[in-house]
Symmetry: D2
Subunit: 291 residues, 4 copies
Amino acid sequence: MKIGFIGLGNMGAAIAGNLVKAGHDVTVYNRTAAKAEPLVAQGAHAAATIKDACRGEAVFTMLADDHAVEEAALGPEGIVASLPKGALHISSSTISVALSERLTAAHAKAGQRFVAAPVFGRPEAAAAKMLFVAAAGPADAIKTAQPLLDAIGQKMFVLGEKPSSANLVKLSGNFLIAVVIESIGEAVALVTKGGVDRHAYIDLLTSTLFSAPVYKVYGNLIANEKFSPAGFAAPLGAKDIRLALQAAESLRVPLPLASLLRDRFLRLMAEGGENLDWSAISTLAARDAGL
Amino acid sequence: MKIGFIGLGNMGAAIAGNLVKAGHDVTVYNRTAAKAEPLVAQGAHAAATIKDACRGEAVFTMLADDHAVEEAALGPEGIVASLPKGALHISSSTISVALSERLTAAHAKAGQRFVAAPVFGRPEAAAAKMLFVAAAGPADAIKTAQPLLDAIGQKMFVLGEKPSSANLVKLSGNFLIAVVIESIGEAVALVTKGGVDRHAYIDLLTSTLFSAPVYKVYGNLIANEKFSPAGFAAPLGAKDIRLALQAAESLRVPLPLASLLRDRFLRLMAEGGENLDWSAISTLAARDAGL
Amino acid sequence: MKIGFIGLGNMGAAIAGNLVKAGHDVTVYNRTAAKAEPLVAQGAHAAATIKDACRGEAVFTMLADDHAVEEAALGPEGIVASLPKGALHISSSTISVALSERLTAAHAKAGQRFVAAPVFGRPEAAAAKMLFVAAAGPADAIKTAQPLLDAIGQKMFVLGEKPSSANLVKLSGNFLIAVVIESIGEAVALVTKGGVDRHAYIDLLTSTLFSAPVYKVYGNLIANEKFSPAGFAAPLGAKDIRLALQAAESLRVPLPLASLLRDRFLRLMAEGGENLDWSAISTLAARDAGL
Amino acid sequence: MKIGFIGLGNMGAAIAGNLVKAGHDVTVYNRTAAKAEPLVAQGAHAAATIKDACRGEAVFTMLADDHAVEEAALGPEGIVASLPKGALHISSSTISVALSERLTAAHAKAGQRFVAAPVFGRPEAAAAKMLFVAAAGPADAIKTAQPLLDAIGQKMFVLGEKPSSANLVKLSGNFLIAVVIESIGEAVALVTKGGVDRHAYIDLLTSTLFSAPVYKVYGNLIANEKFSPAGFAAPLGAKDIRLALQAAESLRVPLPLASLLRDRFLRLMAEGGENLDWSAISTLAARDAGL
């Protein structure tokens, strides 16, 4: 397929690379143009503008936040203004439910199609085509997107016809991960103050009931107190919890755990932890215990 | 080895059975004597009193709560009063850190040895010898206990020389499981109110980042709203959170997640949920969302 | 002074009436024009447009929320576009810190002056000139505003030169009131379930340590379970807590009590309590206790 | 009346003094006998043992905690063992609901009468006869106690026939005060970080909606950051919140605010604040905001 790809950060570049490898005709765009070079070397075309990346059957966006997606999609020479009728916008960024709903409406009005397809996994997983893709949108649009989404991850889950459902699920997933971080932080503070070695403790947890990757990854970061460089920085974690809370507020769903996490992230940043990995919220439980 | 075993509930009977199968000479005791019969059929001896179960090199206890263990161990004709000098008490019940410390002192005073060895796993895991054992105690006592503990589980973790460390770790483990339950409950309430099918959602979670058994077991209970009959009843969950909070209070470790769980359990029971599985606390998030 | 007054709801009409009584030349504007009639009967002039209410030395706004103030102040024929250079805008609405900052900047750019002067008190207090006024703005602007603010309340507090400080203080005040409501709700649930008569209990509290008006007013509403008609409806309470949390987030100040209140309001509304007084969040503690 | 008085700390000495002044024949007892001297100078008799203080129509206890009351009342030569049949024990200490229930049962069994009459107010209020008394017990016992309770406070509230109701109300009162402290702490952190002077802020609050003594006393302590010497030390506050939570747990009443306070007190003490006034929990909100 002839497609565009907008946003070549760590995640975007890895995903776009897999689309090229899968044999698609990919035109890439990034605000800082130099980031396109490695992909051009792999066979992609470089676009000078967003408009130029919107001339195919579909265009991906993989951008940092709501603001960047809003500008790229709804701006004057943006995706909605540029994409041909019937063509498809696949949004893989972690954005708010509210923006996803606005994009759904704008594309519908412009006679275009829209699928939200946020992904679970870090840049290494993206490079290895090991992402999990949470997709939602009208059945025909999902069908068009499927070969593209199959090319970028190990498995795709379809979550219904309303695109924003996929964004809600993505936000809920990051919420669940943050809960795991906080809970390990509290448990480690407790047993450490009780005299148990925290490495032995994490080993026990992750070899038994808590063998999921998320416990292993974060359990080890926490046991090793290794929060820098950040794999996923605290302000990004804070942002995703905020987006989850906003979606929950619109839907009138109280989320006491998310409220607690919000306060943890605010505190971490107020105390100077902006550049740390989001898992550094785990240190607050230890500090509160006088450790 | 010649050993005793006190407490033949679902867990105790399964564990004692594995000790018999491993070739040990096991004398079992249970307040309701009939429960000993199947074990006698397998080759165990039945004791008429606790005292009679305390004539070997070691005695296990696997009882419901602090009260039962206190009575069995510290009562007039109890374990401390009956066990030979140098013999070993292995406590596998989920008890408080405070009681574990009292038992440690009482056995030391009586010239006996004490190991705390609580286990992770449900009765089926116990029967299948698939338990995880968290053990703590003096090195020589652990060494004596090892062949016995190897006979009842798939893996043993040694958590130091202070027996109560193992009890603290066990309580922290149940705390972590309860957090998982609550977090799934909140996430399911959120995405369900947003229009996502909860079975598809749990499937996505447990096939991706949250592939640990604990997410699968409780994710399915929650998706299926199957809280009765209780695998582990709400009052038992409430009790373990209370014991975790008490240990945390003695150690001066604030645990905001445990505080939240405490309130959830109280509410579930105040609203009539005493006989439900502890995972029924997950329904409260849904109810608060008006679902 | 020749002034304008925009927004004639219960609060605005009472305040504007006091300005007329104090001898000022007041031109009033309300979207629903009929609300101006009683004030015209008292001696005010009616304006057909916002622009017409902006021809004097100062103009008040007393509107429902951010949206209404934004439209009135920053819209095409709005206050910023209409007010003479050097004239003063006094904003008495409960608005967000962020909007107050935008208004400060917009008025400065237009060569106008801006004071935020939100008030504490219900409509009856406004009518009786018993409001408390929390004002902030540049010293000269406060000086101009003073005779006007003296005419509408019993006491004015100056909170510095940055107008948004007054908005922050107003939001913090509503936060504190909501905490009082929640705390009475929990305490009443506790003692009621313990067998104490809740009327006797509220009587004890409010005759002793908690003699402040806020405890008397809300204590009685709670003891009498009188939440309808709403003096201040739940969605307005929810909004003010949200604005407090947003201001706190910008400033990076964790507010665990406000987070808890947010969840209470969401739940009350999810369960159908939209039309109840905000003090109805107090019923949730009772319900959680099975009462 | 001929009465005894056990416990001559700051509160007890002041209360006993007022009983002497009112003309009663008071025999006082304190473990450290020297504390009785000033009262003997005023006209009281000194008892060498608890037994000796139990020879009249009534005996007061005003002791530090459950442990002290338990020992004095239920110990071998204690009040229950010593008091004549029909005589009255008035317990003014802040004790647990559970102990109050045990005392009720023990006195009933011994043919004695029991009234719980905890008080609200600091030592200065006690000295000035300005305490508020929350009393509960059988009508005839209350009637006997009334002249004594009238002599020690400005007003008595009767809370029913079950003595422990008064203890529950006392604990709930301290819970409400702690909520006030925490809420002021959060509000002050918010407005201070927003640039408002905290003294001006407390002045505004306490001259307007929050004119109750409790806001004035604690608002000023917080604005002045004056937490030492402690009027009421952090561990005592922590204890009362714990007793409130225990009573709530027995009654199955979730108290999210009390849970939050529990964590605050644990943290304050873990961080070294044992000797500070309990209002020092207010500093935690400021610290979490990076102030």
